[in-house]
Subunit: 472 residues, 2 copies
């Protein structure tokens, strides 16, 4: 029976991913060091702190050397004061631990410190009485910590690790705006609900989008499916936050990633293998990529520009929003876009690119106008186009054949982007990107895209995936 095989695979994977005693000790040592430094810095302020995340629950992953330290401000402190003191405290902690640091921005600014190879976010938040009365999203974390401390029993810990590792293997781990997948907290809640990874996978193999509801605290009113669909529209997976029934912990999981997860569970149970948990190290093959690109007989065009200095969680949605707008603008000019995607290394480079169905158009464009039986619209149509091209009638409708401004996609894309910042924003280009595009952008065609794939392996992977991705 395959059941045995599943358990065997899970045992093997678990051995691989459980941190060694040495690693655990090292982690404990780091935690202690950070805690004590934080206590010392906070003494004059009289604030408390909280180390959050998988580290304190022992559900951390070996290669994820990061955790958050929350500085709990009294709730009557002004936002301004919180931001100012929060940065001050963060910087002092980093200095005390002899780490590097930089200031990052999410809902408010915070300090990101690197200490002994660990990435530690030092985040100020308000200490509130209930998760329902939070003043900003980060204020909720202490309540998650508290709830998990009561429900995440030691027996669940290896199961959480297996689940997280499975998500990682499928590229679905993380609720960040790039991944749109399963957060660590979501993995913990789902494990608590299903008690072990195997039961979870068996249930998920049968999940249907919009029909899955996990309500661990049994909040009332959540048995009405119509109510849920109104409250969480187009969310395939609903996991009610045990500390806040108004919130879906799985809100970040995109429909595509939900289905990917369901199919991955089905496949895993059918043919259990270690490979589901570990992504194969990716080797870009630029020659193959080029062959595939040219072989599709579509046309690729995109552009690159410098990444603005904002956190990835802001950058990725801005890139996607901008890609969509430019896609629409190209289509408005009859350049049919089949597929498109965006990429950034979150450092110095952004790329938005399109796969086109049509890229070289006839010199003229035909417009269907109003019925000849409509006097007013007839007058307007003729007035508008009589000097721009020829006008005739087909069936009962006016038609105009006017000269195109852009027959080729390259100059059209260039025209879209060559604007001042205000105009770019007015066109729908997201604000941080508009600023960078104004400074400089480079149009990329097949050859340039391939050379970027060569230079940036992560982009090469994305581009390769562009030709191969499939859910079913």
């Amino acid at each position: 029976m395959d059941g045995d095989r599943v358990d065997k695979v899970l045992q093997d994977v678990l051995k691989e991913i459980t941190p060694s005693e040495q690693e655990k000790q090292q982690t404990s040592a780091i935690l202690d060091k950070v805690k004590s430094a934080t206590n010392e810095i906070l003494k004059p302020f009289g604030f408390s702190h909280l180390v959050a995340g998988s580290f304190i629950r022992d559900t951390w992953m070996r290669d994820k050397k990061e955790f958050d330290v929350f500085i709990l401000f009294p709730k009557n402190r002004s936002r301004e004061k919180l931001e100012k003191d929060g940065l001050e405290i963060g910087k002092n902690i980093a200095k005390k631990l002899r780490g590097k640091h930089r200031i990052a921005f999410a809902e408010h600014p915070y300090v990101r410190a690197n200490i002994d190879g660990y990435e530690i976010d030092i985040v100020p938040c308000y200490k509130v009485d209930s998760a329902l009365r939070i003043k900003s999203a980060v204020d909720r974390t202490p309540f998650h910590n508290e709830w998990l401390s009561r429900h995440l029993f030691p027996k669940f810990i290896p199961e959480v690790r297996l689940f997280k590792q499975f998500c990682k293997g499928q590229g679905l781990y993380g609720s960040d705006t790039k991944t749109l997948g399963f957060s660590g907290y979501l993995c913990e809640l789902l494990t608590i609900n299903y008690r072990n990874f195997r039961t979870l996978a068996e249930a998920a193999a049968k999940w249907e989008p919009g029909k899955v509801l996990i309500n661990l605290e049994g909040f009332s009113g959540f048995d009405d499916i119509d109510y849920l669909h109104k409250k969480f529209p187009k969310q395939p997976l609903i996991v009610v936050d045990p500390v806040d029934p108004g919130r879906n912990v799985a809100a970040a999981v995109s429909p595509e990633n939900f289905m990917k997860f369901v199919f991955a569970c089905r496949e895993f149970l059918k043919k259990p293998s270690r490979d589901f948990f570990f992504r194969k190290p990716f080797q870009v093959d630029p020659e193959k990529l080029e062959r595939e690109m040219l072989n599709k007989k579509s046309k690729f065009i995109g552009f690159s520009f410098k990444a603005p200095d904002v956190i990835p969680d802001i950058l990725w949605p801005q890139l996607r929003r901008t890609g969509k707008r430019i896609r629409d603008m190209l289509e408005d000019h009859d350049f049919g876009v089949m597929n498109w995607d965006v990429w950034t290394n979150d450092l110095d480079k952004c790329i938005i690119f399109f796969e086109l169905e049509s890229w070289s158009l006839p010199k003229h464009r035909k417009l269907i106008g109003p019925s000849i039986f409509s006097k007013r619209h007839t007058g307007e149509f003729i007035e508008k186009y009589k000097d721009k091209g020829r006008i005739w009638i087909e069936n009962e409708f006016w038609v105009a054949e006017i000269r195109r401004t852009f027959q080729e996609v390259r100059p059209k894309l260039k025209e879209i982007l060559t604007e001042d910042e205000k105009t770019l924003k007015a066109k729908g280009i997201a604000s941080y990107l508009a600023k960078e595009i104004t400074k400089k952008f480079d149009i990329l065609q097949e050859r340039e895209l391939i050379s970027h794939a060569r230079r940036y392996p992560e982009f090469g992977e994305l581009l390769t995936n562009f030709f191969e991705k499939r859910v079913v």
Copy 2:
């Protein structure tokens, strides 16, 4: 004032187009000859006959050497008998006059004879008491003749000639299915209504489609515009037949030709000139045509086949219907058609051709499927496409990328046409054409279209017009 100039032009044109005394005598002689031969042949049958058309009203045009002879059958005679005896009588008349003849088909078969260079259609019809009780369309003609004999006064005759000549000059003369313009009878009625060509042109310059109603007999109930639009939908010009209020004499006038006529009247009154009445002899310039064709950066493709042996009035609508169906089939396969047209010399050659916006497509085609939230449609979509290509999800929708059968338009067009007669008909190819296409067709691309334009000047004119036609 331009008024004088208009009158001057009209006088000059009239001189040119009025038949000479000699021509009139020649025509009278022919008429007499045909009438007496017909009388003699009809004697044993006891039937009467009627010569119809502009000849008997003296409104004929010099270059239109044709008229119809109607053989009036008693209305109790069977259709079968009428057809059989009608042909017999026709043949005998042609023989007696030593003319050539052939059998042609409209609503029923008839004899088309050529006698001394005149084309004479000998058409059997029923002698009925009222135009409201006709058994076939041709039975109406005697009533038109009778009505006109009472209303078309001699003073109208030169005005009718001017009007007809103006329509000819604009390519709008004739209600046949190729021209879709103004019939002789319509010209006569409009002239009677407006009393002279000039008043008619001044009125027409202000015509609006769907708002023109000519009701010479003052039939009641025709003052309600909503009623008219229901009775004659999408007909820009409504001229109620004085002998049959249920019929619009201008039904054949297409919306495009209506507007062409209106604009021509406006232009003529603004800048009166003889040129409006006479089309310039057309010289095809194949080199210029080829330059224009290539310069448009669109793609031309079409096909030719042998013209079936049917009258033009049946052939042209079949060609247009077939062109439209093939246009739709090409568009269903993503080959965007900007414009198309059909042509035949009514003898041995038919051509249907298309101007394409896209003719070479990517290897794959992307299909947007159902929402992932619809279980049933999800299942159907996956089942249908899982083996044909890759499937993924965008936003909340399934998408499939499947291999195209045809990337290029030429093989696609060939595939559409390479079928047995039954299948061609099932695809929507009109019946007479389907039969000929089954036997043989030739795909024509730019070069072949140009060489046809060289060989058939009338096709060359149509193709030239394709690039130049405009109404406004």
